[in-house]
Point group: C2
Chain length 435, copies 2
């Protein structure tokens, strides 16, 4: 939970108060450094400073000053912060804002694995960012406006960073790698935009979903635009084979999303089915993101396959941890926004593991909250209790750890340089999020 507090008039509601008690680091600062404040969307509404690590993952060490993006975003959950870390501009969403009047600087400069990779890839990621901004451009104003909202605000850039890092691992950093990295981010962003329409969730990890601000129609069409532009970038990258891999990944993602749709409220979803779904909806793009660098670098089929395996296993671990975190993670702590999957009736692994073993009262509970969508106060905590009793969250994290191990092993054929180390550390970081 990232909680921001300032010298305004704090009125903590129960959830915010318990989040703070549960261990969120609340940072209270004063002294706005106006030299770092910038406008967004020309409206002068969104300003702030935050640490870079905040952007790359859900860190606790974040701080910002901000005002709502639009009247629609007027709840405490709907604030964004803008940061400047070592000259690198970043945007991120925060989960909760208690009250804001001042700004803060990062009090915890220590680095984690994801941050180390980000530092290493810094120069190349600027090339990717420049491409992204350039290709977002359109004479139809709404398109860059909406796309930037999503790409700048929520963009952790994990997937394109994998493409860039894989290229560097092979000593290949031509423009084609950066173009493919930007294409990967466009596919991911298009998927997010369409997911918001599909989920009708209204919120995307503590942030107002774009469809609530601009409407479903805009989200669908801007997603299509990004998707089309991603293919234009691939054409520029010039590799027909990489194009084939990424277009296949794109249709696999759509298949995975359709299957996930039918897995909602479905008590019969097995562990196998769940794994197939996350392999398609998440791991396929991670796999392609790593593989395409091997392709344009002209490496052997074995190297290509190793990169593809690294990406796929990392993607599986990533999604497993995400699904565990939705129930509070290994320690059932309050991390990021919890309970989204539960409220939507998604049968993720922690639920599937309970479903296959539950009997009696527990079986009735799961049927009521998942199949019948009849959820009452306290049900989420009860679900977490059942999961803890069955070790379902631990089993989910263990499964993530297994896939993380496979991802590390896949890298062993490459020379042990700083890039391989960073890619290995990224694997550990993905799993460590769960603790």
């Amino acid at each position: 939970m990232r909680v921001l507090i300032s010298h305004g008039e704090p009125t903590l509601d129960e959830r915010q108060a318990s989040a703070i008690k549960a261990g969120s680091r609340v940072i209270e600062h004063d002294g706005l450094d106006t030299s770092l404040v910038k406008n967004i969307h020309g409206e002068g509404k969104l300003h702030g400073i935050l640490s870079f690590q905040y952007v790359l993952h859900a860190s606790l060490n974040s701080c910002a000053v901000m005002t709502p993006r639009s009247p629609l975003a007027a709840t405490a959950m709907d604030f964004y912060c803008h940061g400047d870390y070592r000259g690198c501009k970043r945007w991120a969403a925060v989960d909760s804002v208690v009250s804001i009047k001042s700004t803060m600087t990062d009090p915890h400069p220590e680095k984690n694995a994801a941050q180390q990779l980000a530092d290493l890839a810094y120069a190349d990621m600027r090339r990717v960012d420049a491409l992204i901004l350039e290709r977002l451009d359109s004479h139809v104003e709404l398109i860059p406006e909406l796309a930037k909202y999503l790409i700048e605000a929520g963009g952790k850039r994990v997937r394109p960073m994998i493409t860039v890092a894989a290229g560097n691992l092979l000593g290949y950093t031509e423009d084609s790698v950066m173009k493919l990295a930007a294409a990967v981010e466009f596919i991911h962003t298009a998927t997010l935009l369409h997911d918001d329409v599909v989920d009708e969730s209204g919120m995307r990890r503590g942030k107002t979903a774009a469809n609530l601000i601009w409407g479903n129609a805009s989200s669908v069409l801007v997603g299509d635009f990004l998707f089309a532009r991603s293919f234009s970038l691939m054409v520029e990258a010039g590799s027909m084979k990489a194009l084939g891999v990424l277009s296949a990944a794109a249709s696999t993602i759509a298949e995975g999303e359709v299957r996930q749709l039918s897995a909602v409220k479905d008590m019969s979803v097995s562990v196998d089915t769940y794994m197939q779904i996350i392999d398609a909806k998440t791991a396929a793009l991670f796999a392609a993101a790593a593989q395409v660098s091997g392709i344009v670098a002209g490496r052997s089929q074995e190297d290509e396959t190793a990169l593809e395996t690294y990406g796929r296993e990392l993607g599986l671990a990533f999604q497993l941890v995400d699904d565990a975190l939705d129930y509070g993670g290994q320690a059932s702590k309050l991390g990021k926004s919890v309970g989204d999957d539960f409220r939507e009736g998604k049968v993720t692994l922690p639920v599937a593991l309970c479903l296959q073993a539950a009997t009696g009262e527990e079986a009735e509970f799961w049927k009521r909250v998942i199949a019948d969508s009849d959820q009452r106060e306290g049900d989420f905590d009860k679900a977490v209790s059942y999961m803890q009793a069955r070790g379902a969250i631990k089993a989910t994290v263990d499964a993530a750890r297994d896939h993380a191990k496979s991802a590390r092993i896949a890298l062993q054929r490459f020379p042990a340089n700083e890039w391989r180390a960073a890619l290995e550390d990224l694997v550990d970081f993905v799993v460590e999020r769960a603790y």
Copy 2:
């Protein structure tokens, strides 16, 4: 208006009765040819016989026997017919079904221009159809089910037929042409699926929109799947240049759709803006559909540009006529389903022409029905009256005729063979629909 009547218990409502009086050909037949009847979706619900020309355009000479697709499709507008014409299976929607118990055969075998092209392209279009069916396949059942509903039911295949005909015009009919033609149809179908979500229209030309049967989520995701598969087909076609042209067209279409969104209920949409919108949302794909054949055939830049011009001008004429037909066309006859654009407040050319000249009572009328979305009974007829008084529908059809002429001129550099003749006739046919 295509009206089907049978030996059931006809209960004509006022609209149906007036449609029949207005000149629709009502065909009453008996004697079901069971050898031609086939099931659809394994439900045994949709059967029939119809003429081929029925499918390619809104002909009056159609006949079918059918039952509703689903409970959602239980109104008279929601019937589909299945036809067999010279061994070629076809599906199409009909505007009105009075009552159905028997089947009919085509009493009017004469051909029109579109039908002649369809006959000429018959063998190649079978290759395209085979590719389409093959690439629709997915282990996720909903995907082929939904996609086939749209592709088989509503597919006029005009765009891929242009690709095929352009290839034949150049004497080039390799598989790459068929793959690009199938890719063009996939892009078009994905756009239709997403349009249904965007328009929230519920109906697509007399047919229940897919999103009403399967939900918005499925329409978005299956659209994404088709879009991704279209790029896989292009990769197989093997031309990076053709890929670039089609991906650019895809992003242009999305831009056009976004602009059209903002043109809804907007009284300030000018004739120029309207032309830019239809150039992007419709003509870009027609242009690319023709151009890519020139690319894979390895023709000169001049030939390529001529084909691109043919497609663009034909696409503009097509959309202009479509927009005129939404107000009944040149003769304000009842053709296809009228009034959709009016109800949605779309500022198409006939409206834009009235808006720029209207004063007093008329100006107030347009403001009420378009900007304020306050539409009452009789407003559509009143809108048509104003348009007739101002010659706005005639002007729209005249503009279509101008673009049609440019399309014909673009073909003049090619040898005068049967393919060129068929492509020229297609232009005339597109415009003649307005009469």
